[in-house]
């Protein structure tokens, strides 16, 4: 039960399925899922935020998804597509679909809530200056929405990274390999090593997003956010189900 020994064993770092490789796979699956989720969530969020229609539908979808266990969903998708798809895709496809399904609602909610909560004075001022609707959206509403959008993407990323662990259950690579292989061989050090790596990756990303927010959100918006003492939640609550 020597966790330190597992981390300092050089073969765990240099072998072809060692720690760097599995972190790489974990980030690869997560990255693909995040890109697909962004490609769906951001445009849809802009449409909903701009038109104000479809909010109830999104909220209902997000709530229903929270009740659906991701492990069950993963196995279900695998059973459905296994007779149709062959090769490695039979494991990759269900994994990516589950990750995308979990990641879309926070991005979507962050985007439309951000656009709707854009300071009406700023929007009014832009209109008064003769901005077209498109200019208002691109130059005023979207930059104003950035803090909430980042918060949504942060939630999605954390959700993806923690859920990507269960990809190993279908036989894929990633940090979940250490947890499940360790479990199968009753090697607790390996299990704990994998668990610590997943937790560290999640915490690292959390801090990364805090830094990113500071870097790209307009300083003017930050001052407003810091001044407001309103206890109303400005972040989309993260629900980690994996």
């Amino acid at each position: 039960m020597n966790i330190f020994g597992w981390f300092t064993d050089p073969t765990n770092w240099t072998s072809s399925d060692g720690i760097p490789t599995q972190i790489g796979y974990h980030l690869l699956y997560s990255g693909i899922a995040l890109l697909v989720a962004l490609a769906i969530g951001v445009p849809l969020g802009i449409v909903i935020g701009y038109t104000g229609r479809g909010e109830a539908l999104v909220a209902g979808f997000a709530n229903a998804l929270r009740a659906l266990p991701s492990l069950g969903l993963l196995v279900l998708l695998f059973l459905i597509i296994s007779p149709v798809v062959s090769g490695n895709l039979v494991f990759v496809l269900p994994t990516i679909v589950v990750l995308v399904l979990l990641a879309v609602p926070p991005i979507l909610t962050g985007t439309y809530a951000g656009i709707q909560n854009a300071d009406p004075d700023a929007v009014g001022a832009a209109r008064g200056m003769g901005f077209s609707k498109r200019q208002i959206l691109l130059l005023v509403q979207l930059p104003c929405a950035l803090p909430l959008m980042i918060s949504g993407v942060r939630s999605s990323t954390l959700q993806i990274v923690s859920t990507a662990t269960i990809a190993a259950y279908l036989g894929l690579q990633g940090l979940g390999r250490f947890i499940l292989d360790g479990r199968a061989q009753a090697d607790f050090a390996e299990m704990a090593g994998g668990a610590i790596l997943v937790a560290a990756l999640a915490l690292l990303l959390e801090f990364g997003f805090a830094g990113l927010g500071r870097l790209i959100v307009s300083p003017g918006l930050r001052r407003v956010a810091a001044k407001s003492t309103s206890p109303v939640a400005t972040t989309v609550p993260t629900t980690v189900t994996a």
């Binding site: 929270r66 659906l68 266990p69 492990l71 954390l158």
Partner: protein, 217 residues
């Protein structure tokens, strides 16, 4: 094997798994709520405590559940298959979610209401228990609904470690390539989530009888 056949021949096991699942969900939710009330009150009263508690809670929430299920035995000295790990992990998640909700709920109590209670001679603990907490119930109930529904789903991850509950039906479905156990597990999970959610909605209505009039108008 037919659906009815499988379910009837495995009924005892399904009932056992469901009962385990209910306990693994309810115990942490209740302990989490009980702990979140004083901690949330403290965060609400002491400004700097709010940032510290909400920040810590946020970090706790980022730790993936499967990882927490494995890291906790190292800290607690429990065995990996001990259901206590699941209960402690979910208690931490529930607490992390609700402490902020309780603090925000108490802060959302209108200032006039608090002032009126003060003018009527309520002591601070009376004001908290008889005025502020009841007024904050709807906000806390909303947070509790999110917590309990998430907990039903997070418990299933323990199947990957071999701790029996409804998630065990998912792993069985995968191993045998069978839809029936899998769907049975998913449906029972959703049913449990809907029941717990409904119970909280009902409890909220029961605890806030004054809201009915305003809601229906």
């Amino acid at each position: 094997m037919g659906v009815v056949n499988w379910i009837s021949s495995n009924l005892d096991r399904i009932v056992d798994l469901t009962i385990s699942h209910v306990w693994l969900t309810l115990i942490p939710t209740i302990i989490g709520l009980v702990l979140a009330l004083p901690l949330g009150w403290w965060a609400h009263r002491w400004g700097r405590g709010y940032a510290a508690i909400v920040g810590t809670a946020g970090l706790l929430y980022t730790i993936p559940s499967l990882a927490l299920f494995i890291i906790l035995p190292v800290i607690l000295g429990t065995k990996i298959l001990d259901p206590v790990n699941i209960i402690v992990a979910l208690t931490l998640y529930t607490l992390a979610l609700l402490v902020r909700v309780v603090a925000d709920g108490l802060s959302s109590v209108p200032h006039d209401t608090v002032a009126a209670a003060e003018a009527m001679g309520y002591r601070s603990w009376q004001r908290l228990l008889l005025v502020e907490l009841p007024v904050a119930v709807p906000v806390i109930a909303a947070g509790l609904r999110v917590a309990v529904v998430s907990n039903v789903s997070i418990v299933t991850m323990a199947a990957l470690l071999g701790i029996p509950q409804l998630g065990s039906l998912f792993t069985q479905g995968f191993q045998l390539r069978l839809y029936v156990p899998l769907i049975t597990g998913v449906v029972l999970c959703v049913v449990l989530a809907v029941i717990f959610d409904g119970l909280i909605i009902w409890g909220n209505k029961l605890l806030t009888p004054w809201r009915q009039r305003t809601v229906t108008s």
